[in-house]
């Protein structure tokens, strides 16, 4: 089966040609023709209409209709802005990097068309500081575009002017959140803003602002060139188009694959990425970056689309699949995930700041064997207390996968707790068994107590083990 799965390349078309990164190469494949056509023969509103009809959904995570976003921008004379979110920082996501590296002009053309449609005179690409090479490539490409007259004053005699600035971030995941990105661009501490007002109404420097992901904007020229119908011929009804999917983790051929939305997860993970390494099985996977609730092999045959992932209780997010094979300890993966979000929390709102911190501390105790199964209920409850209560989605981004992991792999959590605890219990000689304290890999130690004995012993010691723990809500 794996051999038959093919990519559908629109954004990554000609990506193998290194010349594509130059303006000559890009133009040799017809680049910038759409922008010229748009400037000459299309009204901004027409473009907005095409984008809306195409059903293009944001590729950065939220999946909001791109055309609608543009249409929210007020008409009129005020200063408007377009920001391209190239702060791709989600663990597991590396598609924008490839899009910018291989085809920077596709992005620039998309930004130019979107800016023209939105009536914006200033555009920014906010690229994460670690994408140094890609930022250099963009800098060069922007320069080329200026030289060729596709950016700057009175573009191609149309009377439309656009300035595009590549801005390098300083290394905070939170700046990928659109309003934090705006604050960072303005030179402030990158903290999310309260919404409303939404950026479309009051964004960068207080002006209406369109913010879209690299991949979303890269789609623009293709849609405007070929029409909404053409775009809708790819993908599903609610998720039209193709998607560049980053697949990583325990697979044979990790990498970016551009596919039509709606392709099955199995085709993606097994067909394109080659499935798990020899001797391993898929145990779980994040379908949409580290902030999406994990799915299990039972869900492998679901179509990969915004709607199907939402129905399965997860999300397509940025379209980054991270596969955990059976060598991965889920509690450790949960801790790893929580640590990332704890580290990246900006600290502005209470539930995220304190919730990520507390969750990490609890999960650390879980893997050290210092927790009790009751702690798993507290972990779950804390995640519930975070979800929906935060200023932005960063808190939810930890809480959702962590609570999914606890729900779906509760047995494994309990086992890790028990085994790590066992390793800490003194043997008959009074020695500490196993690797004690930080027993990440949970060596089983030298105790001869089995798990049942251990649970019983905990109970006798008076450490509370709630009833629910025994009939664990096993989802896996």
């Amino acid at each position: 089966m794996s051999g038959q799965v093919h990519e559908t390349r629109i954004l990554l078309r000609h990506a193998e040609d290194p010349a594509l990164a130059t303006i000559e190469g890009y133009r040799s494949y017809g680049g910038y023709e759409t922008f010229q056509k748009a400037l000459k023969s299309m009204e901004p509103d027409e473009i907005v209409e095409v984008l809306e009809e195409s059903g293009l959904r944001g590729r950065g995570g939220a999946g909001f209709s791109m055309g609608k976003k543009v249409s929210f921008l007020p008409r009129g004379d005020q200063d408007k802005y377009v920001c391209c979110n190239a702060d791709e920082s989600e663990p597991g996501a590396f598609k924008d990097r490839e899009l910018m590296q291989r085809n920077p002009h596709q992005l620039i053309e998309g930004i130019a068309i979107a800016s023209y449609a939105a009536g914006a005179g200033h555009a920014f690409i906010f690229i994460r500081g670690e994408y140094d090479r890609q930022a250099d490539i963009l800098d060069r490409a922007v320069e080329e575009a200026y030289e060729a007259g596709f950016l700057g004053e009175d573009i191609l005699g149309s009377g439309y002017s656009l300035d595009l600035v590549v801005h390098r971030g300083a290394g905070a995941y939170i700046c990928g959140e659109e309003t934090a990105l705006l604050d960072a661009l303005e030179g402030k501490r990158g903290n999310p803003r309260l919404k409303p007002p939404f950026p479309a109404v009051q964004g960068l420097y207080g002006g209406p602002t369109l913010i879209n992901n690299v991949e979303t904007l890269s789609n623009v020229s293709h849609i405007v060139a070929n029409g909404a119908e053409w775009f809708r011929s790819f993908g599903t009804e609610q998720s039209p188009g193709t998607k560049v999917v980053s697949i990583s983790g325990g697979v044979r051929r990790p990498g970016n694959y551009e596919v039509e939305l709606g392709i099955s997860l199995r085709d993606l993970i097994f067909g394109l990425a080659g499935g798990p390494l020899d001797g391993h099985d898929v145990k779980a996977f994040y379908p949409g970056g580290s902030s999406s609730p994990v799915l299990t092999p039972a869900e492998l045959d679901l179509p990969y689309s915004f709607e199907a992932m939402a129905e399965a209780g997860s999300m397509l997010g940025s379209g980054s699949i991270i596969v955990a094979d059976d060598s991965v300890s889920i509690p450790h993966m949960a801790l790893r995930t929580a640590r990332f979000y704890h580290h990246e929390s900006c600290g502005k709102c209470t539930p995220c700041r304190e919730g990520t911190n507390w969750t990490v501390k609890m999960l650390e105790r879980v893997v050290r064997g210092e927790a009790t199964p009751m702690e798993l209920d507290i972990i779950t409850s804390v995640q519930q207390n975070i979800i929906g209560h935060c200023l932005c989605v960063l808190g939810d981004s930890m809480a959702m996968p962590v609570s999914a992991m606890v729900a779906k792999f509760r047995d494994e959590f309990e086992q890790v707790i028990a085994e790590a605890a066992l390793a800490r219990i003194p043997t008959t000689n009074g020695d500490h068994g196993g690797n004690g304290g930080n027993g990440i890999d949970g060596g089983t130690g030298t105790s001869d107590l089995n798990l049942t004995d251990l649970l019983e012993r905990e109970r006798l010691q008076g450490r509370p083990i709630p009833v629910s723990e025994q009939e664990s809500p096993d989802a896996g």
């Binding site: 209470t350 990520t356 911190n357």
Partner: protein, 891 residues
């Protein structure tokens, strides 16, 4: 459209129908229906909500996710639930999260008992703790500044202090450092937070993270009382609440009065209470035997004072500095009716007269403080509010930041507001009139450029002007030009346009209105002019005045011509001082009476906007201090004029009777928030003469008769303002039109000052301006917490002049004019125009008031000159070819 603004809507919160203005934030609207939604970060005074703490999550029908009530504007028909299981869960979650890292050290925390976190935990939090992990730790408490301690463990990161620093005081010093749960409040590079409003953050802090060093471990909330009063340390007259324990003030809090102070206090108002308990405070009457102070009984002291004053009779003068309306009224009544003298002044330097003051008091051209908030344009002329009336600085910043008000600044010295101004213009010290009249002309001509253009384009215009521009020879012309500008700008026609004058003393406006002017009695009733401040000094020196009463003023420090005042007080036969503290002038006293502080006084003061406010006794008077009105009434009686005033309300009633436009004012009318006299019917009586007789009781009580001719000016009573002795010199140093005629009244020029120093004529002569620094006063000096702010003399100099003179910031120099000099450190200010420099008045040493005497150098070359002599080793020399005259050791 105002109609839209006031759209009333009905919403439902927890089943209660609540009527509110559309757009009100839900938290505030709910309160109207007695529904309390808990908040930590929400504080409308700090600007737009930030929604950071998430404490105010509520359920709004039709919106699936919980919403923050602090940031949700209400709409008609909105249905809100604050008590559902979902909301409860969220509230408990947020409190639980806040307590994850908050130490439970409430028993030893100063906030304990008045702590929003305690209250909200109690009211909305979960009843058990599930957190068993380590909390975060910081070194604590550490000084955030010399005034404020920070306990970062207690901080719940509500952002309030940081928002205050960034969006209210705009000093931007407080920042959040690090991120996530490692976030902490601090300053760049751990530098101390030095800003004049920092104390406000201790009040904003909803936990015990920010505490004032002055109040740490001083009291528990259950053994204190709060007493509302008004701060009279500057003309802002912010409303305050004194925290009193054991009859002593322990803390000063803001008493939010949006019409006066917006609920902010400057640090002088907040921490200056310490001066009340300073060892230098005068606690009982003192008489002097051979120059040595001897405690005296009240009866003895009053008799002693009366004897001396009676001896001098009409050769008595009164200077009033910091005083209430009642005290000022009684002083002028005493000197006029008991002694037959009109030599009384409350201005630091004469200049404009009572007629000018009366013209500018016209309600049609008076602005209210709140008019600043929504003005199209605020024009600041001749004052830097951060020094003269700090809360105006915040008010103007607010208007600019939140309401898009345009700001224009026209001053001699660069101000703290320049950064936010659309237009900044500079005039040379002492030349405000030239600038004002040219602007008035431009505005009248419909100019579209610069400040005139701004005025012409703006509807509501508020002009905040410093009364200093009325000082000196330039003063009357400046005020006339100001009135012309107001007319050209059509200010009288606009309801919300107007002028606000910032006096030089806290109750300057009130003192003028109750008659502490040489040429006017209560209510600006015109009188033949007596001596003004300068003429009184000259009269003392020449012996034409034999006795002086100094009430709340230290002329040697506060007034121009330090040396002159020293000689004047030396020469005086009898000096009666009323002062809170011993100072340079009280050394010359024959009798010294203690004064009450604003925490002890029962009196009224008048705000620059015309608002009568009550200063109310909150703490006990220490030692043997008596109310000012009582002492003055007694003294007056001994001098032969029985006032019949036997209580504080009597005194206020007498003031209200004497000042026609104060008619009918009493404690109840003034109330807790004060009342503008312009807003009362009696305002129409502005200009009516006082019913008070203004001559000695034995004289003709029906008509206002001349005071004895003024020998020192030689001028008979004539037109009121223009005959003011034009003598104030020159620290405002005019650079144009000076012809040497401006020497001190009476021509008293100390001989040693007449001759300019020969070598100094060309060595970098600059025009010297001076200003009174916020911290250059006795309150700062006597408050241990504030003392570090007491300024040492510094010479502000333009970068061009500094380059020319090869000076750099921090260099020590001596600044001299004639034979006088002060030492100062150089501070280069790029915003200063070339050729001008500034010194501070009222510093403990090297007071710039030293220069403002007979203006010796000016006589010869016009503007007062200074020469800069480097005294630092390795210092530079002027480049004008006279390198030889600045030796390394200095002179």
């Amino acid at each position: 459209m105002p109609a839209e603004k006031l759209n009333r809507i009905i919403l439902t919160v927890d089943g209660r129908e609540i009527e509110a203005d559309e757009g009100t934030m839900l938290v505030d609207a709910a309160r109207l229906g007695d529904v309390e939604i808990p908040v930590f970060c929400y504080e409308p005074k700090l600007g737009d909500p930030v929604g950071a703490c998430r404490m105010c999550l509520v359920e709004i029908e039709g919106i699936p996710k919980l919403q923050t009530a602090c940031s949700t504007p209400v709409r008609d028909g909105m249905v809100v639930h604050t008590q559902t299981a979902q909301v409860k869960e969220a509230q408990e979650a947020v409190v639980e999260f806040l307590l994850v890292n908050h130490p439970l050290d409430c028993p030893v925390c100063d906030k304990g008992g008045e702590c929003p976190l305690q209250d909200i935990s109690m009211g909305w939090g979960p009843d058990r703790n599930r957190m068993v992990d380590q909390k975060r730790h910081f070194e604590k408490p550490v000084p955030l500044s010399p005034l404020v301690a920070i306990d970062r463990e207690r901080c719940i990161l509500c952002y309030r202090c940081v928002r205050f620093s960034q969006e209210v005081s705009e000093d931007s010093q407080l920042q959040l450092l690090e991120r996530g749960d490692s976030t902490y409040v601090g300053t760049f590079d751990d530098r101390p937070y030095i800003a004049p409003f920092q104390g406000n953050i201790t009040e904003l802090c909803p936990v015990g993270a920010l505490t004032s060093y002055t109040y740490r471990f001083q009291a528990r909330p259950w053994d204190i009382e709060q007493g509302g009063s008004v701060c009279t340390l500057c003309p802002s007259q912010c409303n305050v609440s004194f925290t009193v324990r054991d009859e002593q003030v322990k803390r000063v809090l803001a008493r939010d009065n949006p019409e006066v102070d917006d609920g902010w206090l400057c640090d002088k108002g907040r921490y200056g209470f310490q001066a009340m308990y300073s060892a230098d405070r005068v606690l009982n009457p003192v008489r002097f035997e051979d120059g040595q102070p001897v405690p005296a009984g009240w009866g003895e002291a009053v008799e002693l004072a009366a004897d001396g004053l009676l001896r001098a009779g009409s050769k008595t003068a009164v200077l009033v500095g910091e005083a209430s309306n009642e005290e000022g009224y009684l002083l002028q009544r005493m000197i006029r009716r008991a002694l037959g003298s009109s030599d009384i002044d409350s201005r630091r330097g004469p200049g404009f007269g009572a007629a000018d003051a009366l013209a500018l008091a016209d309600p049609a051209i008076s602005a209210r403080v709140v008019d600043i908030d929504h003005a199209d344009l605020v024009l600041v002329v001749g004052t830097d509010p951060i020094h003269s009336a700090p809360s105006f600085d915040l008010r103007i910043r607010k208007a600019v930041r939140r309401h898009g008000t345009a700001l224009a600044v026209a001053t001699d010295r660069p101000t703290a507001l320049d950064g936010g101004a659309s237009e900044v213009e500079r005039f040379d010290p002492g030349t405000a009139s030239a600038w004002l009249s040219s602007i008035a002309d431009e505005v009248a001509a419909g100019s579209g450029d610069g400040i005139a253009g701004l005025v012409n384009r703006s509807g509501h215009t508020v002009i905040v002007w410093g009364e200093r521009i009325g000082r000196g020879d330039d003063g009357p012309a400046a005020l006339a030009a100001l009135a012309r500008l107001a007319e050209a700008a059509g200010i009288a026609a606009e309801q919300e346009s107007g002028l606000i004058g910032i006096p030089e003393t806290a109750n300057g406006r009130g003192l003028r209105e109750v008659g502490c002017l040489p040429d006017a009695g209560p209510g600006f009733t015109p009188l033949d002019p007596g001596r003004d401040t300068d003429a009184i000094r000259a009269g003392l020196e020449s012996g034409e005045i034999e006795s002086i009463v100094l009430f709340g003023i230290d002329p040697i420090r506060d007034l121009p011509d330090t040396e002159g005042w020293r000689r004047a007080l030396e020469a005086a036969d009898h000096v009666v001082c009323f002062s809170m503290e011993a100072n340079a002038s009280t050394e010359f006293a024959d009798v010294l009476f203690p004064l009450e502080s604003h925490a002890e006084k029962d009196a009224t003061v008048t705000h620059p906007e015309g608002r009568l406010q009550r200063v109310r006794p909150s703490a006990a008077r220490p030692g043997d201090i008596r109310p000012g009105w009582m002492v003055l009434a007694e003294l007056s009686a001994l001098l032969g004029h029985e006032t019949g005033i036997g209580s504080a309300p009597d005194a206020l009633a007498a003031v209200a009777d004497a000042v026609p436009f104060y008619e009918g004012l009493d404690d109840a009318v003034i109330g807790g928030r004060g009342v503008r006299w312009q807003d009362r019917p009696a305002a129409t009586r502005l200009g009516d003469p006082t019913p008070d007789p203004l001559t000695p009781d034995s004289g003709n009580e029906e008509t206002v008769t001349s005071t004895p001719p003024n020998p020192s000016t030689g001028e008979p009573g004539g037109p009121l303002s223009s005959t003011q002795p034009a003598g104030f010199d020159s620290e405002e140093g005019p650079t144009v039109g000076r012809d040497g005629s401006g020497s001190a009244p009476g021509g008293v020029v100390p001989p040693e000052d007449v001759e300019p120093e020969p070598s100094s004529t060309t060595t970098g002569a600059l025009t010297l301006g001076t200003y009174r620094d916020l911290w250059a006063d006795a309150t700062t000096d006597l408050s241990p917490a504030l003392r570090f702010l007491s300024p040492a003399q510094r010479l502000e100099i333009s970068s061009a002049d500094a380059r020319r003179l090869e000076l750099k910031t921090g260099d020590e120099v001596s600044v001299s004019s004639g034979s006088h000099f002060v030492n100062a450190r150089v501070a280069i200010r790029t915003a200063l125009p070339e050729g001008t420099c500034f010194l501070i008045e009222g510093t403990i040493s090297d007071n710039a008031n030293l220069f403002s005497n007979g203006r010796p150098a000016a006589v010869e070359i016009g503007p007062p000159r200074i020469e800069l002599d480097l005294v630092t080793a390795g210092g530079a020399t002027p480049d004008s070819g006279e390198a030889g005259d600045t030796s390394e050791g200095g002179e």
